[in-house]
Subunit: 149 residues, 4 copies
C-alpha cells in the first residue's frame, strides 16, 4: 500500500511589516492594503524563483508582462501591526498562457485571508497574449500545489 | 399585458482621476490601485446616500463598521490616465447582517473591471456582528439591482 | 499714483476627497498621504494648463520628464474626511531648467499644510537636464506668484 | 590630549523592497512613495528601540501620538527595484516636546535622498502637546547624531 498523500511543495513565504499607517481608524489594516500586499507577495515569488527584480525584471529585461485578469479574496481575520503578516504564495494552475496563484496570509498562526489571482502572459510592449515561456514552465511545474490547497 | 422588465435603479457613479503616479512601467494603472478605487467608490456610495463622510461617519458617529469578508474582481481592459475612470456602484444583495455591492469601472465607455464586494455589519468598537439597521435597510432596498447585473 | 500691489493670478484649485481609508487610527489622514495629494494636485495643475493627462502626457507624448529634486511641507492642522481638501497650486519660480510650485491645503477654510516642490525638466528617456521648453515658459510665466506667497 | 571626534552612534537601518508597483512609467519609484518609505523607516526606528509595534504601540498602548509638523526631502538619485533601499534613521534633535529625525536612503551605496522630519509629542486622544516622556528621552539621547549629519 502506498501513501496517497501527494507531496506538497513548500510555499514561498513573503513577510510584510504591517504598520500604523496601514491601519484605518478601526485600528486594523485598511482592506485595500491587503490586495496590495498579496500582489507584492506574488512579485516576491517571481523574484525568489527567477533570481532578479520580479515583475520589473520580467517586463524590462524580458519584455514579458503578466497582467491580472482575476483576483478574489476571502477575509477571515483582521490584520494588525502586532505581528508580521506572512503571505504564503503557491502557483496552483498553469495554462497555455496563464498562471494562477494562491496567496494566503497569516498573523501569529491565524489565517487572515485566502486569495486567488490569475495572470496571463503577454508580450509586454505589444500587450499580446503569449504562451508560457518554457524556462518559466520548467520553474513553475515542480512548485505547483493541487488547486484545492 | 405588462412589461416584465424590472426597473433598474440608476447606479451611483464615482469618478476617479487616474494619474501618472497610479501607473506602473507598463503605462497602465497598477493592478493593486483598482481594488483601492473600487473601495473608494463604495465609500462614496455611502456618502451619497447617507449624506455624510461615508465609512468615517458610520464608524465614528454611529459606531457601525462594515468590514469586508469577500472581494472578487475581473479585469477586462487596462486603465490609463487618458480618461476619467467611472465606477458604477450598486447594492445587489442585502442579508440579515451583510451587504453585497457590484462595482463596475468604465473608461470612455469601455468596461475595465467588474467586481463584487461583501461587507458584514458590526458594532464597530466590539467587532460583533449586527443586524442591518432599519434606516439603512430602508435606504438600500429601493437601490438594489438584481444580482445578475 | 498707481497701486503698487501686484496682481496675483488665481491659484489652480484641486479637490481631494479624503476618506476613511486615508486615515490612521488617530482618525486623521496619515501623514504620508499628504505629499501624495500635493503631487496629485501638481499633476492636476499641468493637466489644467496643458489640456491633457498631466505628467503622463508630458512624459509619454512629449518625452518630457519633471523629476522632483526637493519637497518640503509644514503641517499646521489635521486633515479629516469631514471636508474636502482643497489644494491650491501656484508656480512660484521658473529657472533655466527647473520649476518650483507652492501647494497649500485647506479644509473648510483652515490651512492644513504649506509645501514647496521643485522639479527639473529632463528628456524623459535619457534622464538628461533640459531647458524649460518655450511653450511651457509661456504658460507658466503669467501664472507665477511671488515666491513669498 | 583627547580625541575631539565625537562618537557617532550607528543609525538604525530599515530595508525597503522596492517593486514594480512602486514605479511609474519612467521606470523609477514614484516620488510620492519616498516620503511613505521614510515614514515607514521612522516607525521602524521606534519599533527597534521600544521593542513593540512602533507608532501603533505608542498610540494605542501609551496614548502617545507623534504628529508631523515638518518634512523636507532632497532627492539625489532615482530609486529602482534593482536593489533594496536602505533607509538610515537617526534622531538629530530632541526638544522639550519635539523630536527631529534624519532619514537618508541608499541603493547599492548611492545616496538617493536625504530627509528631515519633525514630530511633536501629544496626548493622543486629546491631541495636546506633551513634554517628551522621560523613558523616551533616556532612549533617544544616546542615539542622537549631531544635527549636521
Amino acid at each position: 500500500m502506498t501513501d496517497a498523500t501527494p507531496f506538497l511543495p513548500a510555499a514561498y513565504e513573503h513577510e510584510i511589516r504591517v504598520i500604523w499607517g496601514d491601519c484605518d481608524p478601526a485600528r486594523i489594516a485598511y482592506t485595500a492594503r491587503i490586495p496590495w500586499w498579496a500582489l507584492e507577495a506574488i512579485d516576491g515569488w517571481w523574484e525568489a524563483h527567477l533570481g532578479d527584480a520580479g515583475w520589473f525584471h520580467l517586463n524590462v529585461d524580458r519584455n514579458l508582462g503578466t497582467p491580472f485578469v482575476h483576483m478574489s479574496i476571502d477575509f477571515s481575520a483582521p490584520i494588525t501591526p502586532r505581528h508580521r503578516l506572512i503571505c504564503k504564495v503557491r502557483p496552483v494552475r498553469l495554462g497555455d498562457s496563464s498562471i494562477e496563484f494562491s496567496v494566503t496570509g497569516y498573523q501569529d498562526g491565524t489565517l487572515c485571508f485566502t486569495g486567488r489571482f490569475v495572470n496571463v502572459f503577454v508580450i509586454a510592449d505589444a500587450f499580446k497574449k503569449l504562451r508560457v515561456p518554457e524556462d518559466i514552465r520548467a520553474i513553475v511545474e515542480p512548485l505547483m500545489a493541487p488547486a484545492q490547497v
